[in-house]
Symmetry: C2
Subunit: 483 residues, 2 copies
């Protein structure tokens, strides 16, 4: 990373020659909302925020920035949870907010061509007229954009069955750091050449700027039903998750909540959750009527055989929505009982579910911080919510440490430091634990193949090798302190 | 590409210090079987063939070759159909044939850990005891290896529903050109960091040597049934394919054959195909008994509404096997009626099926060469078989030209020059039509990120930019000649 060879005022002046001057933002007050994304503890004021309206303007913006070595951070709706869209101090935030048009829906091919700023939910709303919808459904789907989904490879409750963003897109048009247009992927099941589409998906803005996305659409399942099962131990609930999968049922969603999360969600949403359960599973099955009936019955029997203390099967669409309402409001529910909370994201092999929850309880006591556990249990993606109060001195630092310890545990049991939120700034230290220097060097080489000067979203995603030893020793110390 | 800084004899001597001397092959007679892969018109005698037995030996082999700038071509079973495993004259063929052990099957997690030389079918045979199987089923599955499948991102009849290799693997252990071990991918739904697993899958030996593969296993479907439908025009059959997909049925396999292929297959296999049909569809549905019954009925009705002249539904496993036997023996069936044939591989958008078949007929007349069409119609992957006689002077050259024209047509209708056979040497010219210089430069940059000296499988996959203008003008000439 070199420093820009142009000053802020001159850069702004040059941007104004091809972008509507009202959308070349320089003043602190208007810039302020861009200083962070959904992970607001990491923030930074950029030099400029620009909102181009055409792909040509994006190209020109990139050429201008490359010429003067100005870092560029692309931004969708800013709902990301790993500070992947945090600005760079001497850099430009390139917002794709104005690229909000659905360009085409082809109901026969079941595809949609989208500008990157189209909201995730808007795709399904528009496709509904054809009986179709877009699969990935991150919790932020009302607000988050498809471009951001590509950058983070977003998932959601249904990704166990329907896959992540990478499994639901066909191609991406991107603008390179040199300002060239590049299309990666194709309409075919397998594009030819190297798979740059998967590489681009989840690359957190490090490789290029997404300017168009072609997604696959799915037919709405004929029917969906959910079975809720309460358990008096997390061990039993964890085993039941493995049992369902081993039995060959692939649920549309298979979610788990621990006792603390159950009570918080129930108080908030009155979904009828068993307040005394130590763990709760929500298992949704979708498909044809016969298939749903068969799988719901099998799942219910399995849950009983794993010791479920209560079972409830939704008998109507209203009841199904109500059972999900509790789960979907788990975050705001926790937000109501704590001044602040920190949502973690990590992945573990399913078989370690119970062990990880037990360990987490011990850590919670060690750090003196409460934790509520919400899990995409089916695919082992967990979202522990650490409760803290930012106004109590030292509590945020302790929260960060606790979070780091959770991620280290994920790696230790053979899991991964991110499920669907990405690395961003948040987990850059943990990347040094997840990967060795050789692997990280390979990431840097790939990054350099797209962006030799390191202008795209610097400081995110992949840690500089020179810091890795320090990161690893810090983690080691944290571990030792715990033991 | 530089030339080796070591001579052949000395290289062999050094290999013998760490690889069993019996498997460092130098003599022409023993090397001969390695001179080509399944596309035998492209062949080359390498300097040496080596068969290491351990990952450490592969690492040492790579270090030795890198030190002396010796090109390395990795080889599985050599069943590839694009000359991707064709040796390099002043290089080493690194055969993974001795890596043929199934290291672990985990029936609960539904995964298998495999050495790269394990045959595709052997995975399903071993997993059968748990009611599981491995999804991708290329025609060569008796012989082809999982390492080769990763290199080519192989598909098969069932990939419409179950995906290509990339959708069915979790992680790959590879040895880099520097001799380092690198694991790409993870057990999690989404690995963290950039998606190198997808990049590696289908990279045709250009990025590294696969030394271990972890695959997903699928539960065997409860039931499978196939409906066969004859049509008196390819237009109707093509429309029916779109109709099935648009209706929301995702068949386990959806295959199409044209009149010529039908007769050849029927003469060979006596499957009971309608010899007078212009096109035949085989549509297999799998799942629960109810689901299969429902979808078979829907598909049959759809085929009727699109003008099917005959419909037959398999009533037993034997009948199902018989109906597939014809399709599966289409290649040898054609081989019986022609001294030689050339199997092409390209992908087109489904909606252009009928147009492409009609054009192909015109080209067949233009080039004076018969063509039999066999299609993975569901995913638009076609395999035209061009019939020729290599002993007739000029006929092979005309065949190659015809093949090139077919691939150019694929690109023209928005398709892709490869479906599942890869680029290899065969389609390297067409890569210049499929992609522009910028895209190809990006591929080269990615390649260099793994293999800066270009030692891994040189001359395959991505054309040198300096040749691209020539390739494009040649294609243009071929087009003009036709018009």
């Amino acid at each position: 990373m070199s420093t820009p060879t142009i000053d802020r005022a001159e850069l702004a002046r040059q941007f104004r020659t091809f972008i509507d001057p009202a959308f070349v933002i320089e003043d602190d007050e208007t810039i302020r909302p861009y200083e962070c994304d959904g992970l607001s503890m990491y923030c930074e004021m950029p030099w400029l925020v620009v909102l181009p309206e055409t792909v040509e303007q994006v190209q020109q913006a990139m050429r201008l920035c490359q010429e003067h070595k100005v870092p560029v951070v692309a931004r969708g709706a800013g709902t990301g949870l790993s500070a992947g869209a945090m600005p760079y101090a001497e850099g430009v935030v390139l917002s794709l907010a104005k690229f909000n048009r659905i360009l085409e829906i082809d109901p026969l091919a079941r595809t949609a061509r989208l500008q990157p700023g189209v909201r995730n939910l808007a795709i399904s709303e528009e496709a509904a007229q054809y009986g179709l919808y877009y699969g990935p459904d991150p919790s932020s789907q009302i607000a988050c954009t498809i471009g951001g989904n590509v950058a983070e490879n977003s998932g959601g409750v249904h990704c166990l069955k329907y896959g992540l963003t990478v499994h639901n897109i066909l191609s991406v048009e991107m603008v390179t750091v040199e300002g060239e247009k590049l299309v990666v992927g194709s309409d075919a099941l397998d594009g030819c050449g190297m798979d740059m589409l998967a590489l681009m998906t989840g690359s957190e803005g490090l490789l290029g700027i997404v300017t168009e996305v072609k997604v696959k659409l799915l037919p709405k399942p004929e029917q969906a039903q959910v079975v809720m099962a309460g358990f008096d131990s997390v061990q039993n609930a964890g085993d039941a998750v493995g049992g369902v999968i081993a039995h060959g049922i692939i649920p549309g969603g298979l979610e788990m909540m621990d006792g603390f999360a159950i009570v918080a969600a129930e108080d908030f949403a009155q979904a009828g959750y068993p307040r005394d359960a130590a763990a709760l599973l929500l298992c949704e099955v979708d498909g044809t009527a016969e298939e749903v009936q068969e799988h719901i019955e099998q799942a219910s029997n399995l849950f009983r055989s794993f010791g479920a203390t209560s079972i409830r099967v939704s008998q109507s669409e209203e009841e199904r929505a109500l059972l999900w309402k509790g789960r979907k409001s788990a975050f705001p529910a926790v937000g109501r009982i704590s001044p602040d909370y920190y949502c973690m994201d990590g992945t573990i092999p399913r078989r370690h579910l119970a062990y990880v929850l037990t360990e987490m309880q011990k850590m919670s006591e060690h750090y003196g911080l409460r934790v509520a556990n919400v899990f995409h249990a089916g695919d082992g993606n967990m979202h522990p919510l650490i409760l803290f109060d930012a106004n109590v001195p030292g509590e945020f630092e302790r929260t960060e440490e606790f979070g780091g310890a959770i991620l280290a545990m994920c790696v230790n049991v053979g899991g991964c430091i991110t499920g669907e939120h990405g690395v961003g700034v948040e987990k850059i230290r943990q990347m040094a634990i997840q990967f060795d220097d050789l692997e990280l060097a390979q990431f840097h080489a790939l990054k350099a193949a797209f962006d030799p000067d390191g202008l795209l979203n610097p400081g995110k995603g992949v840690p500089a090798l020179r810091h890795c030893q320090e990161y690893r020793s810090l983690e080691h110390k944290a571990h030792t302190a715990e033991a």
